[in-house]
Symmetry: C2
Amino acid sequence: MIRTNLAILSFIEQTLTSEEKEDRVFLKGYAPGEHLLMQGQGNKYVFIQKEGISKCYITEANGKEFIIEFLGEGELMGEIEIIRKTKNVTSIAALTPVTSYCITYDFFSKLMTQYPVFNQLLLQALAARVSETSARASYQQIYPAEYTMMKLFSLLANQQVVLPKKDLADYLAVSLRSFNRTIKQLREKRILSPHSFDLYIDGKMMDKLLLEYDQES
Amino acid sequence: MIRTNLAILSFIEQTLTSEEKEDRVFLKGYAPGEHLLMQGQGNKYVFIQKEGISKCYITEANGKEFIIEFLGEGELMGEIEIIRKTKNVTSIAALTPVTSYCITYDFFSKLMTQYPVFNQLLLQALAARVSETSARASYQQIYPAEYTMMKLFSLLANQQVVLPKKDLADYLAVSLRSFNRTIKQLREKRILSPHSFDLYIDGKMMDKLLLEYDQES
DNA sequence: TATGGTATGAGACAAATGTCCCGTTTTTTT
DNA sequence: AAAAAAACGGGACATTTGTCTCATACCATA
């Protein structure tokens, strides 16, 4: 649920030489709340996050936010827009203190076209993004909030970070009220621990509950 | 809403020579209802649709289907799985009679790595897919069915095909009942024409209605 | 330490959506 | 043409989710 891409980070840090990176790749820090990228604007760099957690989100015309994904170590940002030559489709904001590599437009183009290893990593990253985005879109729209929240908590358990509830609600595309309500229900059902997001049940048990909920098309 | 990719189709048909395609690229026909690809299975070919319309969908554990997108002329299928070396994440089924190029695994790999023009087309296709999938996931989850349906109908107007209601409902991830109910409401409000899916209002008017619906975060 | 801002938690009610069901229409198959 | 199958349309009711609102806790910093 917090996406990472260690292979691409390692390519930038280990494979590229200092000479290659000179004037083309540099590190920059962002405080929580600060934006790396703003929806609707153009951007000059492609980013590869080195440390911290950020959120990639879309702001709809009515002001509501939908979080596409949380980004962690090594995640690429802004490459879609450069490949497609469009304005940013999403905004990206730091949630924790973030440091990120900034890669100039020209050098990114060069990496993409003249470095087969990088090209391959890029294809992998894009393909992974397509399938994960699709899988999540499907899952979230088809199951009720109770199940998507259980899934979210099970994923969250593998992380050490604490994300604000509003962001978790935006990730699931439910109102904060629904989010809280469902937490309460899960606690009443003894599925969720009283003061944390720890689940009392495991993946298998979850699948069982899931199937309980109906069987036909 | 029915995605196409004429550039990649033209590459296959015009740019590649017959010798290059020999034994590696061939045409195949599919009757409505027939599958090009099944979720969970491996597949041997990458497909590029030449004619017809198909649906790309995910079947969830409870049997419900979510349609990721409708595919038209030139759309690529199965490339994600080959790039990631995974089983199929989606199923693809013909809705109308479909003819599609089948490209062998090996030749697709070669196209990807040794044909810069194709490589570029592939990057473009993946990038487009990421942004469109994200944009739609956001839009559909954030707005009520009434608005997503208006959007759907406005997109549908540019197509000549008639798609089954069940499929349209699956695309929006709502039940058929909700779909019908909302059609009825839109007709009562004189937004939708009585016996077709033609809207009486245009894009600007839609945006206005959309904004009506709330303004803050 | 006061004070505003933000995160949290939840009651009450309204709106949206799903489930179940039944009857009709259309299409396909025999 | 008859029968079977699939698509369509909608009533009645239950469930889910959102909106509005108020109250409390926590954190920052003036």
